[in-house]
Structures are given as structure tokens and as C-alpha cells.
């Protein structure tokens, strides 16, 4: 189970894979929701749909931040190759967390289905 350890290079891809899953998830979730049951345009950005998408984004951000923290912790215990993989993975987790939060920002302000 070496792969579960943050020193394995697979973690270089996990953070951004999670970002991609989040991205595809909110985009398709939004599209399906708008096709099936669009909220009234009068409601603006204050809809259940926005709230749901916002919650998902928060969960992903928190999870990715946790993973980043974990990577940096592990990085401190190693040198050389393992240190390299853990540190770079940590930064990538951090960026992914930022990516979720940043690309999710419009959920606060934009009405969903117009």
C-alpha cells in the first residue's frame, strides 16, 4: 500500500483529479438541474441549487486542504525523493483547493439557470 503514502508520485495527480471531479460534478449537476427543475429567475442567486453547489465546493476545498496539510507533514519526515514527491504533491493539493474555491466563487453571486 505504498501508494497511499504521500511520498508516492501518484499523489501528484490526485489533487487535480479531485478538482476535475468537482468541476465535472458541479457543471453536470447544474446542467441537469437546469434541464429538469430550474429555479425561478426571480430568486437570483439565492436558490437551493446554489446552496447545494456551494456546499459541495466547501467540502472539496476542506478535503483538499486537509490532504495538503497531510502531505506537508509527511514531507517533513523525509529527505530526497520522498520529500520531493510529498512537497510537490502538497503544493498541488493546495492549488487544487484554491482552484475549487476560486472557480466556485461565482456560485455566491450568479443566478443558476439564466
Amino acid at each position: 500500500m505504498e501508494r497511499l503514502n504521500f511520498t508516492h508520485p501518484i499523489h501528484l495527480t490526485v489533487g487535480l483529479t479531485l478538482w476535475s471531479l468537482w468541476f465535472v460534478g458541479v457543471y453536470s449537476g447544474l446542467s441537469v438541474a437546469c434541464a429538469v427543475a430550474p429555479p425561478a429567475p426571480e430568486a437570483g442567486a439565492v436558490t437551493l441549487l446554489n446552496a447545494g453547489l456551494g456546499m459541495i465546493s466547501l467540502i472539496f476545498t476542506a478535503g483538499l486542504l486537509l490532504l495538503a496539510w497531510g502531505s506537508f507533514q509527511v514531507a517533513k519526515q523525509h529527505r530526497g525523493r520522498q520529500h520531493f514527491h510529498a512537497v510537490v504533491s502538497g503544493w498541488l493539493y493546495l492549488f487544487s483547493a484554491f482552484g475549487v474555491a476560486f472557480a466556485g466563487l461565482p456560485i455566491i453571486a450568479v443566478p443558476p439557470c439564466l
Binding site: 508516492h8 468541476f23 434541464a35
Partner: protein, 841 residues
């Protein structure tokens, strides 16, 4: 780390060279068509790419001539549309990608201390597919029947009703053919970088260029299949009338745009990443110090590789999707600024801390920086939805795109060509002519395209063949056109310089730029086998840390300096640590790639001329050629019948369970999975979004038959896994019978699926629902057949003694395909048979 097989004995270098040359050397005359060597094929890729670049460039000059003045009738609108479409198509598909892949094919093995790519025959197949596809596509220009719907081929403009002649077919078939080449190069570059680095070269020690190419190759693997799927669907619509993109039949033209840009946006980064890799290679060399922030660059590459798949909708901001969805894509597009900025400032910091010299290649790098940063900044502007709505499809976008592509690809490419010229030819480029070429190109480029931003802001749309006097665009268009001729004069000078240098260049001294990477340990020009002996490399800068390394390598003082066994050998190493795991033996020159590519070319031509019977026959012939090629593997007399290695050496890869072929199959299945996911996306997209989608009252696909077929394929896969476990435990009793049983189960799956298909009574030319369903089942049937054929062949190979406990490698490769088939078939049952029953229309 103790290196494996460090030779203590003295070798006679000349004798070693002759021995290795006997095995690796290229044949002459007609037999040159059989060459599989990466050095030769890399050069062929690049030279062919340059020819297509010239064709694309001439088309560009025709466009600028037409637009130089208002109300010109130098070209008719029909011809103009053909010319612009082909300019984009040729530059993207026939120049940018193959050129950079060619460079990677040439350089990667040399940089990572290998002797060739890991699937040499695949390199050759890729080259011929590229060449034939390119010729077929460009020949459409000569008969004035080129595609004319734009390089993005939006439906319905490209569909049968509005483009009845062969233009669209040329595009769809030719491009798909060329993409086989891109994909095969992508697959083998991934495997080569991960599995054939020289001893000791851990993942975090490999040259940055290899990281860039790894990312590019993986992106090709994931990014090209959506377009292949789109092309197949559109060609099916054009040829037999399946309404995938027609509203009336329940299809949707926007689906094409999604599939196209799912490929098209990553494509931009596929082009940019290797070019940035060139920059990251050159800057440390000319700054005379290691790059600062190696890890930062690796992170930036990874970010770009992923994020670029989340941007495709920013090409479609005006198609009328919800604004919140647009905002996601807008924000994601802006995110790309971060990894780009990281790289730019890593380069700046490296220069800042080094002692940079403005040699000719660095001049081009400087041109790259200015132009690319400018294009990146307008890119961030375009990511902003309201601004995008204004300038989308205007000349502003044309300008932006050329800043990104010419700045981000062409300038670094020329920098790289100048830098590696001494390696190609053993001669130095001239500084004078080169500098003239640079300044003319740089000024001409900016003159052409900087102004074009303004033309766009004044409201000039893209792709109009003329404009009226008094529009206010005249002077800017004239200036653009004049500058474009300066630009082409500059490029002509550069090409002339490069061509002349092969004859008149000063002979280069060894490692002329004092570079740090292994490719400069080659002789100049390189030998067919690259290195006499393969060193143990545990540093990022092998030639700086040991300037004597090229000599000791050439003297055979490192590993694998043996040729007596007659095999083409190199190290197979651990993807993470770079520890040696096995000796990879490579196949020699072969006619099969050329034959297979020729058969595929006939398929392409007969589809084009609508002789479907001939196409079917040649598909089978191509299949037979490919299978015949795969026959000469492992313990086959032409591959490695004798597994003998020197004492202390690791085994041959075909005598292990985990050779590069397994990895190649894995990477190929990633590409295949991307194709399948694109298909599922199309199914669900049409289901939810298409305005006139019709779900039948009763689901046509029998759940029982499909379920039974699923059980059959699962059982087959279980048997395969059991056989593999047996091989792992040194048991091969009943191996052949096991393969035949699995194949029989596969045949049962095919039969049951075929029955379900027959029972469903689909009318695929009437509704897109039935058409999509048919494509999914055809995909499953094709994969079922593939698995059965390969499994039967394994059974035969057991009989011949090519597969068994002594050579346990191949069954694992086939078993991987079985696993894939199980997953795919399960998903198909879920998507096509279960969900419609659960959710209903």
C-alpha cells in the same frame, strides 16, 4: 546505489561500435522503409512537418493577400473558406503536433539514456499514418474539394445537407488517420519515459523536458479520443444518415462543439507544453546554472495538464449556456494564469541568478517570452465572459490565438532547432543570417498580429473573405498583410539558414553549448544505437557533474555494452526510483508497419470514395498485418528465442510479468477509456439537453440478454486472471485450454450482445437514440472480438512454445483488455439498458 553490471573489463571502442552498428544500423535503399529507429523517424517526422508547415504558410499568405484590400476578388468565397479551413487544419494537425512529437521522438531516448523508444514498430506505423493521412488531406486542395467549414468543422455547416461534396469527408477521415499517429506516439512516449530511463534516473531526477513530454503525451492520450469519437459520429451521419447532430432526428449540433473542444482546448496545451519544455531546457544551459524551482515547474506542468481539460466551454461562451456554468469555465480559464506565471518567473529567476548569454537560440527564447506573455494576457481577458461575448469570433481572437500558438510554439521550436542543430548535423548554425531571420520574423509577426487585435475591436469578424470599403478596417488590414510578408521573409531566411548549415556550417565541437543533459553524450550526428554503454545517472545534470561521461560511455565503461547476443537491448527501470528491473529487448526493422499503414490508407480512400466493401476488406487486411506483426514477440525466433543474459544481469522483459508492453496496453486503455467516456457523455448529453430527443416507450434493449452477456465476459475475465495467477506461481498446466475457454466465453458474449442488438430492432437512421445505442453496442462487439482473437492467438502461442512459464509476459497484457471489457460492458448495460428503465423518458 550500486549499479548493475558495471563493466570492469576494457573494451575496444571501435569494435564495440561496429558490433552495435551491425545490430542497430539502418539499412539503405528500399529497405530504408523498414527502419524503426527513433533518430531516423524523429527526423522524418520533423522534415515532413516542415513541408506541411510550408504548405500551411502559403495558405496563410493567400489569406493575407485576399484581405489586404477591401472588396477584392482574388479568391472566391468558396475557395477562401477552403484555404482558411486548410490553413488551420494543416498547421494544427499536420505541423504543430507531429513536429513536436517528432522532436520528442528524436530526443527523449537520448535524454533519458535509452537506445530507442519502447515500441519502435509503433513509431514507424505512426509516421506512415501521418504521412499518408497528410497527403490524403492536402490532396483535397489540389482537386479544389478541400473542407470549407472551418478547421473546427461545426455542424450543421459541415454536415451532408450544407456541405454535400467530399470536403468534410476528407477532413474527418484524413484527420482521424493522422490521429492514429499522434496517439501511438503519445502511448509510447509515456511508456518510454516511465519505464526506460537509464539506471538510477529517479523520477525527480529526470530532465524537465521529459516531464513536459510526459504531460504532453498523457494529454494526447486523453485529449484526442473525444475528437476521434466526434469524427466517427459525424462521418457516420454523413455516410449513412445517423442523426447524431441533427435536431430533427433528436440529435444536437452543440454535441459536436463539446466533443471538438474537449479535444481542441487541451490541444493548445499539448502544443505549448513541449515548447515550454524547450525553453526550460535552454534557459539553464545559457544561464550556466541549474534551473531554480525544479519542483515548481513539475507542479506547474501538472496543473496545466489537468486544468486545460476544464476549459473547453470557453470556446463556446456564445452558444447560450447558463451564465453560472460559463462562470465556472471563465474562472477555470483564469486559473491557468497561475502555472504559466510560475514558469515565467522560474525562468526569470534562473536568468537572474545565472550568467545568461544572448546566443542565437536565446534570442528566439526572448521572442517567445514577449509574444507568449502578450498572448497569455489577452487570453486572461478572453476568459472574462462579457468581454468574450464582444470579441469572440473577431480578428481579436485571431490575433490572440496566433500570439499564443506562434509565440508559444513556433518561437521555442526554432530556438530548440537552433540549439539541437549541432546534434542533428554536427555543425553550428550561422549567427548572422540567423539574427536577421529572427528580427524579420519577430517584427513581421508583431506587425501582422498586434494590429489585428485592433481590427477585431473595430468589429471585423473572423472568416469573412472580404469587407467593404469604408468599414474603417482597410488600413489595418493592409498593414497586417504587408507585415505578414515581412514575417514570411524572416521565416524563409531561417529555413534557408538551417538548410545551408548542413553544408556550410562550421563543424561543432563536442557539447557545443556546454549543456547538462545526456543527449549531448551522443556522437554528432548520433549513431543508431545512441550510446555504447548506458551510465548510472543519479543527478539532474549528468554532463555538468561528470564532463568526462560522454567519453567513458563511448568507451563502453558502463552497462549493456554487449552486442554478441544480437539483440537490441536497453534497461527497463522502475518508474519511480530508476532501479533496473529488466533488460528490454526491442524488435528490429520491419515491413509490417508500412504494410499496415498502407492498408489503412486504402481503407481511408475507399471510405472517401464510398466503396464500403473494399473498405471492409482492407480493414481485415490491416488487422491481419497488425496481428502478424504482434506474432513476432517474446520467445518467437525473430524476437528473443534465447533468454540468456550475463550472470548478475536482470532477466529479459519478455521473461517477466511486467514488461513495457503491459504498460503500453495500460496507457492505450486510458485512451480507449477516454473514447468511451466521451461516448457516455454524448449519450447523457443528448438525453438531457437535445431539444427533440425521443426516448422510446419501451426500452428496446433486452436486460436479460445483456445481463447474460455481461456474465459471460465476466467469467472469461475471471479465467484470464486465474491463468495469470497460475503463471505467477510457475504453473502453466492447462494454459492453452484455459485461453480457449475464455475465448469461448468471449464468443458467447458477442453472440448474446448481437442477439440483443438484433432483437432491439433499432432504426438508427431515424432517431439519434437508436443511432447512439447502435454505436455503443458496436463498440462492445468490436472489443469483444478483439479480446477473443487475441486470446485465441495466446492459445496458439502456447502451442508454439512462445508463451508459458518461461515466457509469461503476454497473457497479462491480454488479461488487462479483458478487465477493461468487463468494466465497459457493465457501464454500457447500466447506461443503455438499466437507467432508461429506472428514469424513463
Amino acid at each position: 546505489m550500486k549499479s548493475v553490471n558495471q563493466e570492469a573489463v576494457e573494451h575496444d571502442p571501435q569494435q564495440l561500435h561496429d558490433d552495435l552498428h551491425d545490430i542497430w544500423g539502418n539499412p539503405k535503399g528500399l529497405k530504408a522503409l523498414t527502419i524503426v529507429n527513433h533518430t531516423t523517424l524523429g527526423l522524418r517526422f520533423m522534415i515532413t512537418g516542415m513541408v506541411f508547415f510550408l504548405i500551411g504558410g502559403i495558405l496563410a499568405m493567400l489569406v493575407r493577400t485576399q484581405l489586404a484590400m477591401p472588396d477584392q476578388d482574388f479568391m472566391s468565397p468558396e475557395i477562401y473558406n477552403q484555404v482558411t479551413t486548410m490553413h488551420g487544419t494543416v498547421m494544427m494537425f499536420l505541423f504543430a503536433i507531429p513536429m513536436l512529437e517528432g522532436l520528442a521522438i528524436y530526443l527523449i531516448p537520448k535524454m533519458i539514456g535509452a537506445r530507442d523508444l519502447v515500441c519502435p514498430r509503433l513509431t514507424s506505423l505512426g509516421y506512415f499514418c501521418y504521412l499518408f493521412g497528410g497527403i490524403i488531406l492536402t490532396s483535397s486542395l489540389i482537386i479544389e474539394m478541400a473542407p470549407s467549414s472551418g478547421w473546427f468543422m461545426y455542424t450543421p455547416l459541415s454536415s451532408k445537407e450544407f456541405a454535400p461534396d467530399l470536403g468534410s469527408d476528407f477532413w474527418l477521415l484524413g484527420i482521424t488517420f493522422v490521429e492514429i499517429s499522434a496517439l501511438s506516439a503519445g502511448v509510447e512516449l509515456v511508456v518510454s519515459i516511465l519505464r526506460t530511463r537509464t539506471q538510477g534516473m529517479a523520477l525527480h531526477k529526470m530532465p524537465l523536458f521529459a516531464w513536459y513530454i510526459l504531460a504532453m503525451a498523457l494529454m494526447i492520450v486523453v485529449g484526442f479520443p473525444p475528437l476521434i469519437l466526434g469524427s466517427v459520429l459525424l462521418e457516420l451521419e454523413r455516410a449513412v444518415g445517423m442523426p447524431f447532430f441533427q435536431i430533427a432526428g433528436g440529435g444536437d449540433p452543440v454535441l459536436w462543439q463539446h466533443l471538438f473542444w474537449l479535444f481542441g482546448h487541451p490541444e493548445v496545451y499539448i502544443i505549448f507544453l513541449p515548447a515550454a519544455g524547450i525553453v526550460s531546457t535552454l534557459i539553464p544551459v545559457f544561464a550556466g546554472r541549474p534551473i531554480v524551482g525544479y519542483g515548481w515547474v513539475v507542479a506547474a506542468i501538472t496543473i496545466m495538464g489537468f486544468i486545460s481539460f476544464g476549459l473547453w466551454v470557453h470556446h463556446m461562451f456564445t452558444i447560450g449556456i447558463p451564465q453560472l456554468a460559463q462562470a465556472f469555465f471563465s474562472a477555470a480559464s483564469m486559473l491557468v494564469a497561475v502555472p504559466t506565471a510560475i514558469q515565467v518567473f522560474v525562468w526569470i529567476a534562473t536568468l537572474w541568478l545565472g550568467k545568461p548569454k544572448m546566443k542565437l537560440p536565446m534570442l528566439w527564447v526572448m521572442g517567445f517570452l514577449i509574444i507568449f506573455v502578450c498572448g497569455g494576457l489577452t487570453g486572461v481577458m478572453l476568459a472574462l465572459v462579457p468581454f468574450n461575448w464582444q470579441v469572440h469570433d473577431t480578428h481579436f481572437v485571431v490575433a490572440h490565438m496566433h500570439y499564443v500558438l506562434v509565440g508559444g510554439m513556433f518561437f521555442p521550436l526554432i530556438a530548440g532547432l537552433y540549439y539541437w542543430l549541432p546534434l542533428f548535423s554536427g555543425r553550428m548554425p550561422s549567427e548572422n543570417l540567423g539574427r536577421w531571420g529572427f528580427w524579420l520574423t519577430f517584427l513581421g509577426f508583431n506587425g501582422t498580429f498586434l494590429i489585428m487585435h485592433w481590427t477585431g475591436l473595430l468589429g471585423m469578424p473572423r472568416r469573412i473573405y472580404t469587407y467593404e470599403a469604408g468599414s474603417g478596417w482597410e488600413i489595418f488590414n493592409l498593414l497586417s498583410s504587408i507585415s505578414s510578408f515581412i514575417l514570411s521573409a524572416g521565416i524563409a531566411m531561417v529555413l534557408l539558414d538551417i538548410a545551408l548549415h548542413f553544408r556550410f556550417g562550421k563543424p561543432a565541437k563536442h557539447n557545443p553549448w556546454n549543456a547538462d543533459t545526456l543527449e549531448w553524450a551522443n556522437t554528432m550526428p548520433p549513431s543508431a544505437y545512441n550510446f555504447v554503454s548506458l551510465p548510472n545517472v543519479e543527478t539532474r545534470h549528468p554532463l555538468w557533474d561528470d564532463p568526462n561521461l560522454p567519453h567513458t560511455m563511448a568507451e563502453g565503461k558502463h552497462s549493456l555494452a554487449v552486442a554478441s547476443h544480437g539483440r537490441r537491448e536497453m534497461w527497463g527501470t522502475d518508474p519511480i526510483t530508476g532501479k533496473v528491473r529488466e533488460i528490454i529487448h526491442l524488435p528490429g526493422n520491419s515491413w509490417w508497419p508500412l504494410f499496415a499503414a498502407s492498408a489503412l490508407a486504402v481503407v481511408c480512400l475507399s471510405l472517401l470514395t464510398r466503396v464500403y466493401l473494399l473498405a471492409g476488406v482492407f480493414v481485415i487486411i490491416a488487422g491481419i498485418f497488425l496481428l502478424r506483426w504482434s506474432w513476432e514477440n517474446g520467445a518467437h525466433p525473430n524476437a528473443a528465442p534465447d533468454a540468456g543474459v550475463k550472470p548478475g544481469d536482470p532477466p529479459l522483459h519478455s521473461r517477466t510479468m511486467d514488461g513495457p508492453g503491459l504498460w503500453a496496453m495500460g496507457v492505450f486503455l486510458i485512451a480507449n477509456g477516454s473514447f468511451f467516456l466521451s461516448y457516455l457523455f454524448g449519450w447523457f448529453y443528448l438525453w438531457t439537453v437535445s431539444p427533440q430527443w425521443r426516448m422510446p416507450e419501451t426500452p428496446p434493449l433486452s436486460l436479460m440478454l445483456m445481463g447474460a452477456a455481461g456474465v459471460a465476459v465476466f467469467a472469461g475475465a475471471v479465467i484470464m486472471e486465474k491463468l495469470i495467477r497460475g503463471l505467477r506461481q510457475q504453473r502453466d498446466a492447462g494454459l492453452g485450454a484455459g485461453f480457449y475457454t475464455a475465448a469461448a466465453l468471449g464468443a458467447l458474449q458477442i453472440g448474446l450482445t448481437g442477439w440483443a442488438l438484433w432483437q432491439a430492432e433499432l432504426s438508427p437512421t431515424q432517431t439519434s437514440h437508436d443511432a447512439v445505442m447502435l454505436v455503443g453496442l458496436a463498440y462492445a462487439l468490436f472489443h469483444g472480438c478483439l479480446a477473443v482473437i487475441l486470446t485465441v492467438l495466446q492459445g496458439l502461442r502456447v502451442g508454439y512454445g512462445y508463451v508459458g512459464v518461461h515466457a509469461p509476459f503476454e497473457p497479462g497484457v491480454v488479461a488487462l483488455l479483458w478487465r477493461y471489457n468487463v468494466v465497459v460492458f457493465g457501464l454500457l448495460i447500466g447506461a443503455l439498458a438499466v437507467l432508461p428503465r429506472v428514469i424513463g423518458g
